[in-house]
């Protein structure tokens, strides 16, 4: 193993949170920063040839290669886990920019009560009425404290949207149920597609409050406060699972990286797979990694920032033996607990008109939040928490969308009858979807698998995860809403009610795995403090969505960056001046 020259700050992961930390550090301090990314380099120019559904959306070339590393899954403590051999219910990215390159661009703030959910739910429903296995908790940080970082993130990306709650003033046409905002969105909403119009009209008719989905796909040319200019979206319909070839979708490589490249105090090392955080006597001394040639290195560092995807953040802490593994039987320990996976479901709706649905932008669409969080829910027999109802126009591509048929249109899923029906219904299918909060439960957690290993022989991360009665109630509630909206939009919905289901690793849901290294006010049941500093190893910071004690209803990227920027502020304003425990 070769020992490299010491560095001030080593960052593990070159995605949104890693590069966000790097950018704050190199622009505001004099420290030298090295970001270590296990994937390959990427720039906007690499995406010029990427409008290829097969390579990008089906073979998933921007995602981690499961042949090298995957996770294992079991439904309960009684089962033995098997590997997730192919994608998959989620799609973690790899390469510079990480999942922030292939993301869709949906940009939500979490509701204020998500940050104090234990307190809120106990007050609203009474402790006795909550599920016994519920593990919701307060984050140790409030929405009000995070609002400036949300705004900072939105400006960096140039998020497009329309405010519905500006400093407490409710504005029609925006989301009147949203967390209060200090400012209007940096750019106006994207143009509406046909189905966006239909969904907006229908939900308004039904008395709901539709609004344009906030999007990191720019609605117009925009220059952010860092001086980075990007063009408005072209609605080409290649966002989710693709990189944006014109840079209209905010990605780490078109917002943070161009700025970082100008600083000599920043280095990016790609193809280098961090395998351990090395530590002794409660201090991280650096990181050990293997490069693309298989050569091993030790990089000494004063401070280590763990900023990879949720899965790898948690796994590296386990492999490095940092923190106390969670024990679900005894309810002790903190590492690996509060695993959540945002609830996403959609039901196809069928029109008798063409939709031209190949046009679109990742986050283009309309939605309503009348039942977000605990809005309008008594919790008496339905769900305690819910989320948003939406109809999106992300761009339908021909392989994935072929063969979407209303029930009874064909007896088989191949052959002449199926082909004719599929052609008849092509471009006449949309979907009403929901995203909802996935509450944490004591039995859902991550640890290391006892059997299966990665390409180096290190144990894989193991998920123990299944749906509970609450998620089934959320799905029932969602289906009823979708079934109510579809006919008002002029469409027919699949009439089959959702079945009681178990967690399925083969059906894509969302890439929003959260928790495992949760933040909290006390080291008893959290891994990091509310500044994302590790409780046991104060020169180690674990940033991103692994720190969420529970999922919000909205997609987590904006919140992931907001808590990371708050960590950067604490590190720069307090920690670097007086290194030590901040709490």
């Amino acid at each position: 193993m070769t020992t490299l020259k010491p560095i001030d700050v080593a960052i593990i992961g070159g995605g949104w949170t890693g590069l966000a930390m790097a950018k704050e550090l190199v622009t505001r301090t004099s420290v030298n920063v090295l970001a270590i990314e296990r994937g390959m380099p990427r720039t906007t120019a690499d995406y010029a040839m990427d409008m290829d559904e097969l390579d990008y959306a089906i073979r998933l070339r921007m995602m981690q290669n499961l042949a090298e590393e995957t996770i294992t899954h079991r439904h309960s403590l009684r089962d033995s886990a098997v590997p997730v051999r192919q994608y998959g219910s989620f799609h973690p990215g790899t390469g510079v920019g990480g999942s922030g390159e292939h993301w869709t661009g949906l940009c939500f703030r979490f509701l204020p009560d998500v940050f104090t959910l234990r307190t809120h739910m106990t007050e609203k429903h009474g402790a006795a009425h909550l599920p016994a296995d519920l593990a919701v908790r307060d984050w140790g940080v409030t929405y009000e404290e995070l609002e400036p970082q949300y705004w900072y993130t939105e400006q960096m990306m140039g998020v497009s949207g329309k405010a519905g709650n500006l400093r407490g003033k409710l504005i029609d046409g925006g989301n009147i149920f949203e967390s209060p905002r200090s400012n209007e969105y940096p750019t106006p909403p994207l143009k509406y597609s046909y189905t966006s119009h239909l969904f907006e009209e229908a939900s308004r008719k039904l008395g709901y409050h539709p609004y344009p989905t906030p999007a990191a796909n720019l609605s117009e040319n925009f220059t952010n406060p860092d001086g980075i200019s990007r063009p408005g979206c072209a609605y080409c319909g290649h966002c989710s699972r693709f990189g944006c070839m014109i840079g209209a979708k905010a990605q780490p490589t078109n917002t943070l990286l161009p700025l970082l490249r100008k600083h000599k105090s920043f280095q990016l090392r790609t193809g280098s797979w961090v395998r351990r955080i090395v530590h002794e006597n409660g201090r991280a001394t650096g990181v050990q990694f293997t490069d693309a040639n298989g050569e091993e290195f030790f990089q000494p560092a004063e401070t280590v920032i763990l900023a990879s995807f949720t899965l790898n953040n948690v796994r590296l802490l386990y492999l490095s033996k940092i923190g106390t593994p969670y024990n679900p039987a005894e309810q002790k320990g903190s590492l690996g607990r509060n695993l959540t996976h945002q609830i996403q479901n959609a039901w196809r709706i069928f029109f008798d008109k063409p939709l031209n649905a190949f046009m679109g932008a990742g986050a283009l669409g309309t939605r309503f939040s009348d039942f977000d969080g605990g809005n309008g829910l008594s919790g008496e027999d339905g769900p305690l928490r819910f989320g948003m109802v939406n109809c999106g126009s992300g761009g339908e591509l021909p392989i994935a969308s072929f063969g979407a048929l209303p029930p009874g249109a064909a007896k088989a899923n191949w052959g002449a009858e199926w082909k004719a029906a599929s052609l008849k219904w092509s471009d006449r299918v949309s979907a009403v979807g929901i995203v909802a909060e996935h509450l944490p439960y004591r039995q859902n957690y991550m640890d290391l698998d006892p059997t299966y290993t990665d390409k180096f022989g290190d144990p894989l991360l193991r998920f123990t995860l299944d749906w509970t009665e609450h998620e089934n109630k959320q799905r029932d509630f969602a289906y009823d809403l979708a079934a109510k909206i579809a006919p008002v939009m002029g469409a027919k919905i699949d009439t089959a009610r959702p079945q009681r289901s178990r967690y399925n690793t083969t059906q894509y849901q969302s890439t929003h795995i959260q928790g495992g290294a949760p933040m909290g006010a006390s080291p008893e049941n959290s891994v990091v403090n509310p500044y994302l500093q590790h409780w046991d190893v104060p020169n180690l910071w674990v940033v991103g969505a692994s720190s969420f004690p529970q999922s919000g209803s909205g997609n987590p990227t904006l919140t992931s960056l907001a808590v990371t920027y708050r960590a950067a502020n604490a590190m720069i304003e307090k920690y670097l001046k007086h290194p030590g425990k901040l709490v």
Partner: protein, 221 residues
Amino acid sequence: MKRREFLTIPAGALGGTLLYTLAREPIRLQAQDGNIKVPLRFFTAGEARAIAAACERIFPSDASGPGAKEAGVVIYIDRQLAGPYGADKYRYTKGPFVESVPEHGYQGKENPRDVYRQGIAKLGINFDELPAEQQIQKLQSLEKTHFFQLLRTHTIEGMFSDPMHGGNVGLIGWQLVGFPGPRMSYRADIDQHFGTAFRPKPAGLEQIMKRPGKPWEDEKV
């Protein structure tokens, strides 16, 4: 050295005028060309005929429009199996291999190449010579198998993926469903044409970018 295998196709059977060779050179087909010989990278000629016939039953050429035969789906599948996907370079393939619940998906050890070779054995190498009814019955008997599910998925992929991958010859699949291909911008159209079909003339990546594309499958072979 292994003898190179070719699939012989009457030029008129392919739907379009463009077909890509192994070197990704487009061949322009003329009606008088008669038969053309497509070099195969994975299948033997007999295997390719059997698979082509099965694809044609899954996505037939009939009154509702052209199908797998015209789109050259078997050529697409041949290229996929020859490349890293066929050898499972992106799937987790360490053991132990344990059968599990349906929620865990395919847990087998066999890669797509193995699955096809075993599947072709079940179809019979003379599958293409069977009468249509028997072909359909045979496929119905295999419907639940992993092989059939792969074959069905790959047939759809071969119909609708960019022609640089070997199928969708002459953009025939995209013409069938009215997909215009990868166009750079719909800025002027996204909020227009409500309720009426907007069908720009399809173009493939190579035509859009004005340079030959390179499929990912080719990169690490």
